[in-house]
Symmetry: D2
């Protein structure tokens, strides 16, 4: 089993055209699966899964489409059926608002068929054992009962809010964050608006300032945890997560903390400027729905 990694610059999305070329060139269908990350947590970049599906279809290729939806599913629109995703994976600790502990995996019928035909030896990760047990209302190993109960509750919470409303809330909160970043005169790692993630924003710090210093300072002085950066962009950006059980006002405290931490390290940020830009955005959202009585 060989793996071909398609490189893309940090901040870019999945290079769909390159995927299509490779798939078209693979006349004998040696490629068994295409793996894509829907929402890149390290860079705050959302890729276009529908386009990857179109590339597969354009190439007439039979490869399975496997999607890492860890930081998107339950927060951003994800269309398992419409995009003909074959395997989608997420965790309990993001959109489902639970502690870490569950890997949640969905399979298409084609993926199920592929599992049956696969001849790689499997033990713990053999989902057929789970399928067999599920059929009897059971579980093949000791189940994480607490998390499974929690998943039931968080799924009910998401359905009660309405998935469309959940997605809209994430969009609104993320737009506010981006308004703040613009007000600070800074840039996101994501190269262009179509790539902006609704669940995490990676903010490039001005040259000469170490992003990791901002992060450790914010943790120490303000008890706020920003995300570190990795690889090529290490030290060049810090990340703000904005997903799950989050309100506009909770988001503002993160923006206010970022302003203070950046000011403390010497970045010429006007305090309150990013907060005000986000406030403007949040006030306007649903303005008609929450009209103040005259």
């Amino acid at each position: 089993m060989a793996v071909e990694v398609v490189e893309a610059p940090w901040g870019a999305g999945v290079p769909v055209e390159r995927f299509e070329e490779i798939l078209k060139a693979d006349k004998s269908h040696l490629i068994k699966a295409v793996l894509v990350t829907h929402n890149e947590t390290a860079t705050g970049v959302r890729s276009d899964i529908a386009a990857v599906r179109r590339a597969l279809d354009a190439a007439g290729h039979s490869a399975l489409l496997l999607v890492d939806g860890v930081s998107s599913i339950g927060c951003m629109d994800f269309r398992m059926d419409e995009w003909a995703v074959d395997v989608a994976v997420t965790g309990s600790q993001k959109g489902f608002m639970l502690p870490v502990g569950l890997a949640i995996v969905a399979f298409s019928r084609r993926a199920i068929a592929a599992i049956e035909q696969a001849d790689l030896p499997r033990t713990f990760f053999d989902v057929r054992d789970m399928a067999r047990s599920y059929a009897n209302g059971a579980y093949p190993y000791t189940p994480a009962v607490g998390l499974l109960n929690g998943l039931k509750v968080s799924a009910e919470m998401l359905m009660a809010e309405g998935l469309e409303n959940v997605f809209a809330r994430h969009r609104r909160i993320a737009s506010g964050v981006r308004a703040a970043v613009a007000a600070w005169g800074l840039e996101l790692c994501a190269a262009e608006p179509s790539l902006y993630s609704e669940t995490v924003s990676a903010i490039r710090t001005p040259s000469g300032f170490d992003a990791n210093t901002i992060i450790s300072h914010a943790a120490q002085k303000y008890d706020v945890a920003f995300g570190v950066s990795l690889g090529e962009v290490a030290g060049k950006l810090f990340r703000i997560g904005h997903l799950g059980s989050l309100t506009d006002v909770m988001m503002l405290s993160g923006l206010a903390a970022a302003e203070m931490a950046m000011a403390d390290v010497g970045i010429p940020i006007r305090l309150g400027s990013g907060v005000a830009a986000a406030q403007d955005h949040y006030r306007a959202a649903h303005a008609d729905r929450y009209k103040v009585a005259a």
Copy 2:
């Protein structure tokens, strides 16, 4: 048993001189106890308990000193022994950061003696039953075990942080709130700085704006609960609580929400202005302790 209520304007502290007059006039010591609220939750006013003690002493009066410390104990400096307080009461749900459910009462030796001599019939509130049971490591009724365990943990948390640090944190957070109020061009209900509470700020809204509209709007649109006003000041102020398990950054989200709600009802507030004033204050606090590495 007659009760004499000493009136004071909303926003004023306990009128200590008036207390002293009344006590001096009570030659035959008919007054059995003086009741004072240390921190008036409805107005954000802190009274000077040490001064009340001095008034009692100046009058040579034997009345007991009973203090309501519900919203001060565990947050603001309270000196049971130094001020010779006879009965102090607080709850589990404020400085002790627990759910509602425990009334926590402390008695001086003089208060204990008064309890023994009192001839009012008592049943549930007869603390002697508790004293007797405590002596055997027991409780006279079914105890709220969960809250008692919680109280042990919260007391340990307060001692681990250090009471002086806990008080300083509340002072710092409150000062930031007051910096925001000043930046908004608004005023507190508390009449002067010596009366400012470190745990709750009652903010007067400009005339023509109903504070209750701000409060209900903030709850509906922003999911943030501000406190309503009562009595003479009803509709004229809204309250921000800032006590317990709270950080500077958490406070900023409350200030940001107040800004948006005030702007939404038409008060000419510059968004981010109060937040920036508080950020300035919080950045400066302990600046030397959290110095950024060069």
Copy 3:
């Protein structure tokens, strides 16, 4: 306000005939209320509230009927309307299976009317403040939100099991306990079967054996808490509580512990004899419902 206490022997129920005599003698209706305990926790005695209502009616007396249902409501059949109870009180920590903290009080229309006409000064216990707040979906003081949410859940649990099933479960568990007591050759404090409580059994120890020694020994050696006895029967009985979230099998462990503790202090108990009697009872219950497949 005078209070007339009607004495009854320990182990007897409410002396209904004596109540009727007193009520008939009170021609001018000076008696404002009759207070009765439905289920006496200290003795494991259930009184006949319906009969007390009949005594009131037979006397044509207008006194309110106040019932302490702390250890019965939610476990044993209680008919507020049918028995024309005016005030019923219970707590969160018994049939509702929650931590201590809520007093749950129900009022009849007559009781509400009496509250309006009463002229005793009231503050904290003035339920009219609660009624006014409830009408606005609010609460007059800081509410115990956690316990109120818990009450919602426990009420849902009781309704899901079905009140009739909940009562039947308590009857079945209590009958098993009584079968064990009979097998041990011991007697209950409750004087006769019609008085047997379904939620607590007070067991008389043979003369020469201190019940309190059994209780403290069981706590120390077996980590099991039996209830102490009070007043005239102090040291003469120990109590087994059997209410709330309890199964037949959980009950058996309490009986087994009682056997070991009694044997340890020298009471000639055959180990397993009471357990076996209760097992017989529990096996027979619903035998048809849980028939083993052939």
Copy 4:
């Protein structure tokens, strides 16, 4: 990589002599590791890890010793250093009394060295990533913070009780279970006393009775979960787990439930007989420590 499985009858322990033969025959040390289960959960059989170590030493073999201690560590004596175990694994949900979720793995210095030299590709299970992060007080992936905090508490609980006391408690509870089994006239799956597990007992049902019927009946009628049997002994035994946060009295309820369920399916069990045998055992344990005051 080839795997040689050494078969042993159900109910037998690890065949140490056979291990020694195989190891001695492997002159060129092709065998890289010997895997042994300390306590076989499916059969209630404890194997002699010290003997396996001696077999390795007697053969002068360099293979690593890998031990599955899932259902023994934290309950039964386990000597990582004395037995020179190279890798030991357990979970959070057994002796550590927590929810499922943590795999807890310990490595010897030799195992660490082997990890460094291994050339199998590894990603998620590469413990070197963890070692590197631990060195900075961090974690390579999103950590299960709740379970890690829980592990701290459960480790403190075990140390507060004292490991020797924890082991003695498991021995005492298990002996009581075995006394009950003997009183019922039944046999364990474990072939002889030296193999008896202190944490789980697998009980053979008399021929003609399906163990799975007992298990499902106990679950339905008595709300008690016994363990099913697998493989060759499927339907021939049911298992009682007795580990973790467990007292003698809690154990008795499990035994009482087993008696009722067995009687219900027609096995000629005298109710209370096994309970009485266990009670005898538990009463005697520490009899001097818990002597009743004269």
